[in-house]
Symmetry: C2
Subunit: 446 residues, 2 copies
């Protein structure tokens, strides 16, 4: 099976190459998470505060509520020279880092956090991967779930690191399997130097949410095999499966005995782009490093290329430190709860819809923003089935999904990826066009 | 001489380690360019437009002038979903790229430019360096001026590329010397694979400005030796030496015969951080690629880690496309001319002042934001003289300069670096404290 790298389905290129009239008026792209592009509205509180920070004369604008202006004033005081135009420290604005450790402690029911372990960056994945780059002759490798986030394979490659896949067990709701981890590691050892294990929880694109026991197993595996754990927890505010809750790797680790809690190296990352606020364009996230070698931390702190924009950092502070009940902006801020409810409803609706289609099956999403249904296509269609399916769907119905091969699938299973963090009407339109296309396709292969 | 890497002089660390009372109230850090931190004010036009883009309800705010609101409306229309929170294309917002090519054409008296050769990024240096990374066994190398921008050595190292220094000729106003280029290249060949040559014009930290003849020589050298030219032109709006003007490498190349103009690979970069606007915290710059291999361009376009924040991209558009005479905001915008005049006056004032000190000499700056005076210290002080000088100056007088070793100097010449893009009163205070320290130091070694 050929590598699909660089053959990403692109709405522009496909449509430009076709001069013929289309049965649709507009292309809908749900192949990746870009909620504002999909029509979700930004949080007004966040944008108001940010506007004042950008143009501080608005501090005197009485059209903005008092808590907005006070908050902006506090954030401006935290910026060097009182301006979002100054660089700030490379690891992030200290006030924002302080808010982050308080947020983490609240989230983890009191487990302590320290600003010295926090690093704010414009896109944390690449830094995380760089950490796994070694000095040895043997190429460093990162154990990576299959499927994995569709942006990951190229990042790993950019960093000069080998991606070693471990399969998630689809039939068990994309569970992490210990035997499979051992198999993958054994297959890599000797040829590569496995230094780290990447995991996303809630899962991207699989939507699974790990329980405490599964997390403990992964930590024990990492400890025994001396692997750095790279934990993508960017969808931590999007858990909606029945009886599911987000538990951070750091919290679980801190509650294990000292053989683990004081030794296992762990980096957790979170991002402004991935939460229900969907502020992708502002470019800020953070990572928390646990038990990391001080020299590695020093290296990260010196990566000047990793400066996050100050505007994004301030938005990050607002995300983790929203208005509280009683503040004038609190009522508006509950907008975020509506978005979370919409996401949950979209995920359930799309899951039922897709499972009702012939030749398609879909595990339910418990969290995150994607569904990742499997295509069961006739053998005539098997070669690069996911890519061709997505291309045809785009050409014929103007819907852009992501092909599972972008998520690292190369196991003769074919999946497509769709983001459901979008207005419900958009999701309905996507599903309707998908059904039309899917049924027509199957008609051709009776 | 030991490597100074990682021993960057830091105001925080030095002062925290000393519990004793200080003769100064405030530390002044002029070791690098961070103009808003130094007290320069942001352009109100830029910030007004940006505030409206962040919080579009301000489109109805009649306290803001009409051209501000119209401009914001146009920029918002250029964002996916009308929001600065959407990702946009990885190479940049198309409308901003269009403005960039128009800016380049105006600047270069009509030489054409193409949006397909423009790539917007949050910090272009690292990408530029990555391009020089090869696949061969032999380590790739970049010819780099000594002195070079102080952020460069670590970036080159991060990218896994070898820095090969070529000396600028201090006594000739930091001229680029062809014989020295050949010497450096010859010394590197065999041990490394030189793939590129980095050059900054106007010079960072040297303040020299190349004339057409010097640029032509460099281009001919790069052509003969098949080197990719990485041209740092971020100070192009800051040329103030008598009879000096900024001429872009691209313009010179385009006017040479086709043996050069159609073959020499050139990447020029520019940045929002480095101009007199000093918007460092917004994180956006661009590069223009000339004669580049399409495959390299494809690689760059796929670097998802290189997404620039949309807010910064819009600010970039405003920087290169300022209000024109007749528009309501034009009068305010002339603020930028005042800053440019201040920079020029600061550079001349500090140059005269530093040359009047014993045991110090300084080449005049013709452009850019730094002075880079040389220390002529007694032999007792020679070991790591620049670093010790900067540390003592910080401890005793609360002024943070940069040590020349950070700029790659390792030739038994010792320099310090100071940024003069700051309010004149700040520059005066820096110079006064520097003189006090310098004369006291010399008193100890009569």
């Amino acid at each position: 099976r050929k590598s699909m790298r660089g053959i990403r389905v692109s709405p522009q290129s496909v449509l430009q190459s076709l001069g013929v009239p289309k049965p649709f008026k507009q292309v809908i792209d749900v192949s990746s998470g870009d909620p504002h592009k999909s029509g979700l509205k930004p949080m007004s509180f966040l944008r108001q505060v940010l506007a004042v920070c950008v143009y501080p004369e608005l501090l005197n604008n009485e059209g903005l509520s008092l808590d907005v202006r006070l908050r902006a004033q506090r954030l401006l005081e935290a910026c060097d020279g009182g301006s979002v135009g100054s660089y700030g420290q490379s690891s992030g604005v200290p006030h924002v880092k302080q808010s982050i450790v308080e947020f983490i402690s609240r989230r983890d029911a009191g487990v302590s956090s320290n600003t010295e372990h926090i690093f704010i960056s414009p896109g944390s994945q690449i830094i995380v991967i760089l950490l796994a780059r070694g000095e040895e002759e043997t190429q460093s490798a990162v154990l990576t779930p299959m499927p994995c986030p569709h942006t990951l394979p190229m990042l790993v490659e950019e960093a000069g690191v080998k991606l070693v896949p471990y399969h998630l067990i689809e039939e068990q709701g994309w569970a992490v399997d210990l035997d499979e981890l051992h198999r993958a590691l054994k297959a890599a050892r000797g040829r590569y130097e496995p230094r780290a294990m990447y995991i996303s929880n809630p899962g991207n694109p699989t939507g699974h949410v790990q329980d405490r026991k599964s997390i403990e197993e992964v930590i024990q595996f990492a400890a025994a095999e001396r692997l750095l754990l790279l934990v993508d927890e960017v969808y931590q505010d999007s858990v909606y499966g029945p009886d599911k809750e987000f538990i951070s790797y750091k919290k679980v680790l801190s509650e294990m005995n000292s053989e683990y809690s004081e030794t296992v190296e762990l980096i957790s990352f979170h991002s402004l782009s991935s939460t229900c606020m969907g502020e992708c364009g502002l470019r800020a996230g953070y990572m928390e490093m646990v038990n990391m070698d001080p020299e590695v931390k020093h290296t990260v702190y010196n990566m000047r290329s990793a400066h996050a924009p100050v505007t994004g950092q301030l938005a990050l502070e607002l995300m983790i430190n929203p208005p509280t009940p009683g503040e004038p902006s609190y009522d508006k801020y509950t907008q975020i709860l509506l978005i979370q409810a919409t996401l949950s409803q979209n995920a359930r609706r799309a899951w039922q819809f897709l499972n009702d289609l012939p030749w398609m099956s879909c595990q339910p999403a418990m969290g995150g923003i994607y569904l990742y249904p499997r295509l069961h296509l006739p053998s005539e269609l098997i070669e690069q089935a996911d890519v061709l399916y997505c291309q045809k769907l785009l050409e014929e119905e103007g819907v852009c999904l992501g092909a599972g091969s972008e998520n690292g699938q190369d196991d003769q299973r074919y999946h497509v990826r769709l983001c459901v963090l979008a207005p419900p009407a958009t999701v309905e339109e996507v599903l309707a066009r998908l059904r039309t296309f899917h049924l027509r396709l199957l008609d051709r292969f009776p």
